[in-house]
C-alpha cells in the first residue's frame, strides 16, 4: 500500500541519512522524498512516499520514531490530509500545436512559464494522480524533460 509519511526532525546533519537508511535497509524503494524547513527554522519536515507491506512499514515508522533527532512521525495513510507535488515539464511543441498544449495545461490549471522555438515549459502543482493525468495527455507530443519535487503533505484542520 502507498504510505505518505511525514517526519518532523531537528534540522541537523545526518538525520536524513539515518531515516532513509532505515527505509532502504528493509528493501523498500522511496517513491519520493521532500525536505524543507518548517515555520521554525530549527525544525525540518521530511515527507516520504513509499509503497510496501503495511506491517513492515509500521515497524519502519516505529524505528524512525526512535531516531534521536526525530521529533514526530505521522503516517497520513488513514488520516485526512492534503497532498501536493510540484512538477516542471518541458514538452515538445511543434509549430501549430502550441494552442492544443496550452489548452491541456489550462484544464489542469498548469501554467506556461517558458516558451521556446520548439518546446514550452509547464508548471503544475497537484496530487500525483492529477500530474499523471496531465502527463498522459502530453506524452503524445513528446516529453523532453521532467522534474518533480515529490509530494509534500499536511493534515487538514478540524472541521
Amino acid at each position: 500500500m502507498r504510505h505518505v509519511i511525514s517526519i518532523l526532525v531537528e534540522n541537523k546533519v545526518g538525520v536524513l541519512a539515518r531515516i532513509t537508511s532505515l527505509i532502504s535497509g528493509r528493501g523498500f524503494n522511496i517513491d519520493s522524498l521532500a525536505v524543507g524547513e518548517t515555520e521554525n527554522p530549527a525544525i525540518s519536515r521530511i515527507t516520504i512516499v513509499v509503497k510496501g507491506d503495511d506491517a513492515i512499514l509500521e515497524q519502519v515508522r516505529k524505528q524512525i520514531g526512535k531516531v534521536i533527532d526525530v521529533i514526530k512521525v505521522i503516517d497520513f495513510t488513514n488520516e485526512e490530509f492534503v497532498e501536493r507535488d510540484l512538477m516542471l515539464t518541458k514538452v515538445n511543441c511543434p509549430i501549430g500545436k502550441r494552442g492544443e498544449i496550452i489548452e491541456i495545461a489550462d484544464i489542469f490549471r498548469g501554467k506556461i512559464i517558458d516558451v521556446g522555438q520548439k518546446d514550452l515549459i509547464i508548471e503544475i502543482a497537484g496530487t500525483e494522480d492529477k500530474l499523471e493525468a496531465m502527463l498522459s495527455l502530453l506524452r503524445p507530443y513528446g516529453i523532453k524533460e521532467l522534474v518533480r519535487t515529490g509530494s509534500i503533505a499536511i493534515a487538514r484542520g478540524a472541521k
Binding site: E10, G14, S21, Q59, K66, I68, D69
Partner: protein, 557 residues
C-alpha cells in the same frame, strides 16, 4: 575557562564518572593522548581496537555504567565496528570515541580517513561529528545520556584532530535538551491494569524475561513478582542471572538450546508475560507455533520491539522496573497446582544432562566444576558457539551481571576482552572467560594487555579442535560433511600463555579438571586453562533452525 578540545573532552568524561577508557592511540588522536598523559582517567591500552571495544562493553555489562573506548581514525575506527555492533545488538551502554582527520580534509580520502559515522550508522543509537570544540561538552553529556537511558546502546563521537587542538571557552551544559528523545519509563496505568487482570485469571502462565531485567536493574522486582503471583520464569540468554536459576520457580533458559521444560511450558501456556525481551528468532523458533495458546503481555521500553515479530495482546511501553513495581501492587497468589505438576513432570523426564561416565573430559563437566569452585563469586564471559551454550546451560546463574555474552550479534572473540573490562569494573570477582579453541584465537593478542597490567582473568578453553558449533550443524544437517571446521594447527595454549608471560595449565583427563581450576583461581594473575575435551560432544537439547521450540532433538515427551 579557555581550554583545548582535548581538555574539554577529558573533563566532560570525568564529569560523567568515567574511570577507565579502553583503546589505542594513533595519528588522529595524538593531542587527546597528550592530554591523557596527565589525566586522572585510567587508560587501558589494548592490542587491537576490537579488544578495546569489547572490554568497554564487558565493563558496562558487569557494572551497569557506560563503557568508553577510544580509537584513532580510519583503521582504528573500523576495527571498533564489530564491538559497536555487538553492543548495539545487546543494548549495551557504550560511548565510542574515534579520531578523525582534520575538518577541512574530511571527504578528501585523506590518510587514515574513513567515514565512520556513515559506516556505523545502522549499528549506533546515535552519532556525532564534532565540528567545533565549543559543542564538545554538550555532545559528551548528550552522548552519555542517550547511551544509558531508554533502550540503552552505543553512541559514537567522531572527533577531528583539529577540534581537539582548538582552544575555546568551555561551555558546561547543565541539562540535556533533546526534543526528539523522551524515553518512556512509566507504563500506561490502564494497560498495566489490563495486564494484571489477565495475569490473575491465568491458569498456566509463564514469565519470559530478557536482558531488559538486567539493564533496568529489576531482578529484585522480578523475584517479588514471580513469588507473589506464583509464576514459572524462563529467561533468554541475555536474561541469564536476572532470575535465580536455583529458585524453584526457575525454568532456566528457553529457545534453541534452552531447557525442554521451558520450551514445553511456553508452548502450552495460556499467558506469556514477556518482560524486557524481544522475541528473537533463537527464542521463538517457528513463529506460528510459538506459544500458540497464549495471550501475550509484552513489557518493553522500546515501542519498536512490541509486536515486531509476534502480535502482542497487551503491550506496555515502559521500563521493566517501574512496570513490575506497579504490577506487583495488583496481582495476587494463585496456586496453579496442575500447571506446576505438569512442569515438574517435564523437569523429571527431561533434565539437562550429558554422559559423564568415561574418563574423557566433557565440556559440560568443566563448566559445572568452574561453577562449583567459584562459589557464587564469578562473572562468566563467553565466546560464541558451543562454549557459550554450555556455559549458559551448566553454570547456575543467581545474580544479574554475572553472565556476559554476545547474544544478538554472536561475536566470536568477545569473551576474553569483555572479561578484561568486567575484571577492572569488579576487581573482587573471579572473572572467567569460557572459550572455545576457535574463538579464543580471535582476540588472543589481549594476553599482552592482561599480563602487562596483571589483570587476573581466567580463560577456560574448551579445546575440542573444532569450530564446534559449525561442526555440530554439519554433523546434524549436512550429512557429516565437515567442511573447514577442523582446527589443525592450533597452538599449544600452555606455551602460548607462557610466551606472553601468563600461566598456562593443561587438563587431559577428567580428574585433572578440578585441580587446575582451583590452581588457576588461587593465582593472582591471568591464566589459560586448556581443557582437552571430547571433540564429538554436541550441545543438546536443540531446536533445529526454523522448527517449533517444543520439537527438540534429545527430548522425551
Amino acid at each position: 575557562m579557555i581550554k583545548t578540545g582535548s581538555q574539554i573532552l577529558l573533563d566532560a568524561l570525568i564529569r560523567e564518572g568515567v574511570e577507565y577508557v579502553f583503546g589505542i592511540p594513533g595519528g588522529a588522536n595524538l593531542p587527546l593522548f597528550d592530554a591523557l598523559y596527565e589525566s586522572s582517567i585510567k587508560f587501558i591500552l589494548t592490542r587491537h581496537e576490537q579488544g578495546a571495544g569489547h572490554a568497554a562493553d564487558g565493563y558496562a555489562r558487569a557494572t551497569g555504567k557506560v563503557g568508553v573506548c577510544l580509537a584513532t581514525s580510519g583503521p582504528g575506527a573500523t576495527n571498533l565496528t564489530t564491538a559497536i555492533a555487538t553492543a548495539y545488538m545487546d543494548s549495551i551502554p557504550m560511548v565510542a570515541i574515534t579520531g578523525q582527520v582534520k575538518t577541512f580534509l574530511i571527504g578528501n580520502d585523506a590518510f587514515q580517513e574513513a567515514d565512520i559515522i556513515g559506516i556505523t550508522r545502522p549499528i549506533t543509537k546515535h552519532s556525532y561529528l564534532v565540528k567545533d570544540a565549543k559543542d564538545l561538552a554538550r555532545i559528551v553529556k548528550e552522548a552519555f545520556y542517550i547511551a544509558r537511558t531508554g533502550r540503552q546502546g552505543p553512541v559514537l563521537i567522531d572527533l577531528p584532530v583539529d577540534v581537539t587542538l582548538e582552544k575555546c571557552e568551555e561551555l558546561i551544559p547543565t541539562e540535556v535538551d533533546l526534543p526528539g528523545y523522551k524515553p518512556r519509563y512509566e507504563g500506561n496505568v490502564r494497560q498495566i491494569m489490563i495486564a494484571a487482570e489477565a495475569i490473575n485469571s491465568s491458569k498456566q502462565p509463564v514469565v519470559y524475561t530478557g536482558g531488559g531485567i538486567i539493564s533496568s536493574e529489576s531482578s529484585k522486582e522480578l523475584l517479588a513478582f514471580a513469588e507473589k503471583g506464583n509464576f514459572p520464569v524462563t529467561t533468554t540468554l541475555m536474561g541469564l542471572g536476572g532470575f535465580p536459576e536455583d529458585h524453584k520457580l526457575s525454568l532456566g533458559m528457553l529457545g534453541m538450546h534452552g531447557t525442554v521444560y521451558a520450551n514445553f511450558a511456553v508452548t502450552e501456556c495460556d499467558l506469556l508475560i514477556a518482560i524486557g525481551a524481544r522475541f528473537d528468532d533463537r527464542v521463538t523458533g517457528k513463529i506460528d507455533e510459538f506459544a500458540p495458546h497464549a495471550k501475550i503481555i509484552h513489557i518493553d521500553i522500546d515501542p519498536a520491539s512490541i509486536s515486531k515479530t509476534i502480535k502482542v495482546d497487551v503491550p506496555v511501553v515502559g521500563d521493566a522496573k517501574n512496570s513490575l513495581q506497579e504490577l506487583n501492587k495488583h496481582i495476587h497468589f494463585v496456586e496453579r497446582k496442575e500447571w506446576f505438576d505438569k512442569i515438574k513432570d517435564w523437569k523429571g523426564k527431561n533434565p539437562l544432562s550429558y554422559d559423564n561416565s568415561g574418563s574423557v573430559i566433557k565440556p559440560q563437566y568443566v563448566i559445572e566444576q568452574i561453577c562449583d569452585a567459584a562459589k557464587g563469586n564469578a562473572i562468566i564471559t563467553t565466546e560464541v558457539g558451543q562454549n557459550q551454550m554450555w556455559a549458559a546451560q551448566y553454570f547456575t546463574y543467581t545474580k544479574p551481571r554475572t553472565f556476559l555474552s554476545s547474544g544478538g550479534l554472536g561475536t566470536m572473540g568477545y569473551g576474553f576482552p569483555a572479561a578484561i573490562g568486567a575484571q577492572l569494573g569488579c576487581p573482587d570477582k573471579i572473572v572467567v572467560d569460557i572459550a572455545g579453541d576457535g574463538s579464543i584465537q580471535m582476540n588472543i593478542q589481549e594476553l599482552s594487555t592482561v599480563v602487562r597490567l596483571n589483570i587476573p582473568v581466567k580463560i577456560a578453553v574448551l579445546n575440542n579442535g573444532y569450530l564446534g558449533m559449525v561442526r555440530q550443524w554439519q554433523e546434524l544437517f549436512y550429512n557429516k560433511r565437515y567442511s573447514n571446521v577442523c582446527l589443525n594447527g592450533n597452538p599449544d595454549f600452555v606455551k602460548l600463555a607462557e610466551a606472553y608471560g601468563a600461566k598456562g595449565f593443561l587438563a587431559e583427563k577428567k580428574e585433572e579438571v578440578r585441580p587446575i581450576i582451583e590452581k588457576a583461581f588461587s593465582i593472582k594473575g591471568p591464566v589459560i586453562m586448556d581443557f582437552k575435551v571430547d571433540p564429538n560432544e554436541n550441545v543438546f537439547p536443540m531446536v533445529p533452525a526454523g522448527q517449533a521450540i517444543n520439537r527438540m532433538i534429545g527430548t522425551i515427551a
